[in-house]
Homo-oligomer: 145 residues x 2
DNA sequence: TTAACTGCAAAGGGTTTGCAAGCAC
DNA sequence: GTGCTTGCAAACCCTTTGCAGTTAA
């Protein structure tokens, strides 16, 4: 485990606290998914499908519908961030702070871009009566030909 | 018409040239859609549905499938840019240069953000063997409560 | 004439939902 | 017990596609 989780004896304990902190019942399914998401204290970018596969691989019986419902519940609780890059699928990020992403067009993979290297000096002026909900920066990458 | 189109006698003529410049046959349907998109020389952000409705309102008979096919053809020809903001639908921008957008969460509307006010000083270092395909910046706005 | 385009309806992919059965509290 | 969760299947939304008919060159 990393420094983030050293206070916890087990990943399950860590995940349980993460869930209750979000006001969500620690059901068997949610615990399994939460452990996959934040068990090792690392940030992760998953799709519903990839998390579903990971759960299956781990031997956790969770239906795909529950993965969707759970990801949505986590987002609404504010412990997960949804990112839409390509039309079809959604990615979910365990890092809920505004930060830039790399999107690997060839693989359809999303990863963090080092935030400290992105400097936005001055945002466009926000129209009156509006406020910024989020600033999404996605740097699309392709293999150099 | 704006300065962009003053060399043309009609919007149709302008649209015809825009199409042939993109290597696309100026069919009745494409002309109608092209006129709606760039007829007045202004930049526009549309969805397939909104363009379909606009065409109907104008009295142009175009099927929804053709709107989709046409928007895709315009994108592939490089005269339109696709932007995915919220999971489901795609927006199409007549301004094909990389520039930041405002996304109005309450209305689901996309508009240009003044590009000259956004200064990205230094992009995160790009991994070896990769190159930047595009940098998408979407500033999500919500009504101030 | 011929290849490209259109339109309908049907299929597609990702996501959500209705509802009965199952849990956490 | 009571209300939130789960799971299955069906529904959903946006988008694409197969194919027969139409049209630009």
């Amino acid at each position: 485990m990393t420094s983030d989780t050293t206070a916890y004896a087990t990943e399950t304990e860590f995940a349980t606290d993460w869930l209750s902190g979000a006001g969500l019942r620690p059901t068997r399914q949610r615990l399994a998914l939460a452990e996959l998401l934040i068990g090792d204290g690392q940030h992760r970018h998953v799709t519903a499908e990839s998390l579903f596969e990971a759960a299956k691989a781990k031997g956790a019986a969770v239906s795909l519908a529950t993965v969707y419902n759970t990801l949505r519940a986590f987002c609404e609780a504010g412990v997960l961030h949804e990112i839409t890059v390509d039309g079809s699928k959604s990615y979910f990020d365990t890092n809920t702070h505004d930060h830039p992403h790399f999107y690997w067009e060839d693989e359809g993979r999303l990863s963090d871009a080092p935030a400290d290297q992105l400097q936005i000096n001055c945002l466009p002026e926000i129209p009156d009566g509006a406020e910024i909900a989020a600033v999404e920066v996605v740097i699309r990458l392709r293999r150099k030909r």
